[in-house]
């Protein structure tokens, strides 16, 4: 019973693309966080009670700080409230939550790190920490606002796809793989469900070990409310039905264990 909701202090915040914000916070959650985990962020507005699950983009253990990069989902939303906060403000958070990407098995392997849209940010800390033979980072965006791209360049070969074709391959991340004739022994991916479905299909056809980070609407964020379940191939021990909890059993799953 050692963990609790805490007031994190905002170190800095900036808009890095249309509706995309980058925030550094000082928080105890940084002490144990690993790539692929998330934190619950709460508004200070009592009319918006539920936590927003936001993936961790970067971890600075030394300074006990975390970076989150999130999308403002619309007018009068909780994420819009977050975007108006300034350095020095406090933001209630709980975390780190969920399980990160298992990435110790990548030594000597050719790897794809794939992110789509707001699924791009969690791949950054993973790209920093991963040790592998060939790190191929494939990022899918809507348009030329290829946020975080420069930061990824430091850690591997970056390939970009855009829906409007303004930068890189026109289309999605799968089109970028085909166009650049890329190959991998392992895949790590986060993004919208249609993208993950295509990657799961590709990985299974080619017998590639593939980890997917899933997303679903959550309430508690800690595995109690059973809101954010995903269908699984096998009956799991906790639910005794084919429903794993994304917040607690995930958000990272082997592609072969989930039905998406």
């Amino acid at each position: 019973m050692a963990r609790k909701k805490e007031n994190a202090v905002i170190i800095s915040q900036q808009m890095i693309a249309q509706d995309i914000y980058s925030m550094w916070i000082k928080t105890d959650a940084a002490k144990e966080a690993v790539p692929g985990q998330f934190i619950s962020m709460y508004t200070n507005d009592g009319s918006r009670l539920l936590p927003r699950p936001i993936s961790i983009c970067e971890i600075n253990r030394g300074e006990e700080s975390l970076r989150v990069v999130y999308r403002v989902t619309g007018k009068n939303t909780g994420t819009e409230l977050f975007s108006r906060m300034k350095a020095g403000d406090t933001i209630p958070v709980l975390g780190p939550l969920g399980n990160g990407f298992p990435y110790k098995e990548t030594l000597g392997k050719r790897v794809f790190l794939m992110g789509g849209g707001i699924g791009v940010p969690p791949m950054l800390e993973l790209a920093k920490q991963m040790d592998c033979e060939k790190k191929q980072i494939i990022m899918g965006y809507r348009n030329a606002e290829t946020f975080l791209r420069d930061e990824f360049e430091k850690y591997g070969e970056v390939y970009v796809s855009t829906e409007d074709g303004s930068v890189g391959t026109r289309g999605n991340v799968m089109d970028a793989i085909r166009e650049n004739q890329l190959e991998a022994d392992m895949i790590y991916a986060c993004g919208p469900t249609p993208m993950l479905r295509a990657i799961k299909d590709y990985a299974e056809k080619n017998n590639i070990v593939c980890y997917l980070s899933l997303e679903e609407r959550m309430a508690c964020g800690i595995g109690a409310c059973l809101a954010c379940v995903c269908q699984t191939k096998e009956k799991d021990h906790h639910s005794n039905v084919n429903n794993k909890r994304i917040c607690k059993d995930g958000p990272v799953f082997l592609s072969t264990e989930v039905e998406i």
């Binding site: 963990r3 909701k5 009319s47 539920l50 679903e216 609407r217 959550m218 109690a224 059973l226």
Partner: protein, 300 residues
């Protein structure tokens, strides 16, 4: 000053429990809150066989609250008995098992199988708005509610709390019906049926289309219904619905609740219940109340 309450012959160390479905069976919350501090833990509803629940999305935020249509996903009574009861027994708190079903037989089977288990009370959920059969079907018709209470009571070894729905014309009538059926206590309110539409995607936010609204937005409705029910029956009332603070809980007690359940607020802060227990204690000291029973229903 004495925080203990007696609910149908079972002594809780304080009047605070958690609302079924918001707390699992306590295991996930144990990391964040000392379960020994709670008067009782009310478990997620359990049925005779595992239930897969509804498709996702199962939750949506609403102004001052949320909606859910989880659909009573649960692992079934076998896993519950092996895993959840022994887990909760490690703590010094009462165990209230919430029971759900699709037919009278389903409910009775679960209740019978709990008879020789080390649990303290049963809460019968006849008010879930999110499952088609069972659940709400029993909770909106006084005669059906009385009948199922009678049936369950035949098999129950522990005191039976009937959990009532607010989606009725007269909560007093429902409370009287289950009392007549032999209920040892009533708990209310379950969630209020609602609907939310995504205006961009032009469709329902929840896969189930409708869901149960909970959270502080519904608190005044819950207080009113607790008041009405408490004035209609002699059995104890466990009050719930939008409690997020000690003040909200005290309102419910003054309206007639002998104990309270905290639900949606657990999602806002997993340790919220402990603050509510402490806040009730502070209020009793400040106001000179010796017992919780001294406060119950004094607003007439």
């Amino acid at each position: 000053m004495d925080m203990r309450v007696n609910i149908a012959g079972v002594e809780w160390k304080n009047p605070v429990t958690v609302a079924s479905g918001t707390f699992g069976s306590g295991a996930e919350f144990a990391e964040f809150v000392d379960l020994n501090r709670l008067g009782a833990v009310t478990t997620k509803g359990v049925a005779n066989v595992p239930w897969a629940g509804n498709p996702t999305p199962r939750v949506a935020e609403t102004y001052g609250g949320m909606m859910n249509a989880v659909g009573l996903q649960n692992p079934g009574i076998d896993v519950f008995r092996e895993r959840d009861i022994p887990f909760l027994r490690q703590y010094d708190t009462k165990i209230i098992v919430n029971v759900c079903g699709r037919s009278v037989e389903d409910y009775c089977e679960v209740v019978e199988r709990l008879a020789d288990e080390d649990v303290d009370m049963l809460e019968i959920n006849i008010s879930c708005p999110n499952v088609k059969e069972g659940g709400i079907a029993f909770g909106q018709d006084p005669r059906a509610a009385e009948e199922i209470t009678k049936a369950v009571k035949k098999y129950a070894a522990q005191p039976v709390i009937m959990k009532l729905s607010p989606n009725v014309t007269s909560i007093s009538e429902m409370a009287k019906a289950v009392e007549a059926g032999g209920a040892d206590a009533v708990s209310l309110i379950n969630t209020i049926t609602g609907m939310k539409i995504d205006i961009r995607r032009k469709t329902f936010l929840l896969a189930n289309r409708t869901g149960g609204v909970s959270g502080p937005a519904i608190h005044p409705i819950a207080v009113r219904m607790v008041y009405e029910a408490a004035n209609a029956v002699k059995v104890p009332v466990i009050g719930m619905g939008g409690i997020v603070s000690a003040e909200d809980a005290i309102e419910m007690i003054l309206a007639g609740a002998s104990a309270v359940s905290v639900g949606t607020a657990n999602f806002y802060d997993p340790a919220v219940t402990v603050g509510i227990v402490n806040g009730i204690e502070d209020y009793m000291k400040e106001q000179g109340f010796e017992t919780v029973a001294d406060m119950t229903g004094i607003v007439k």
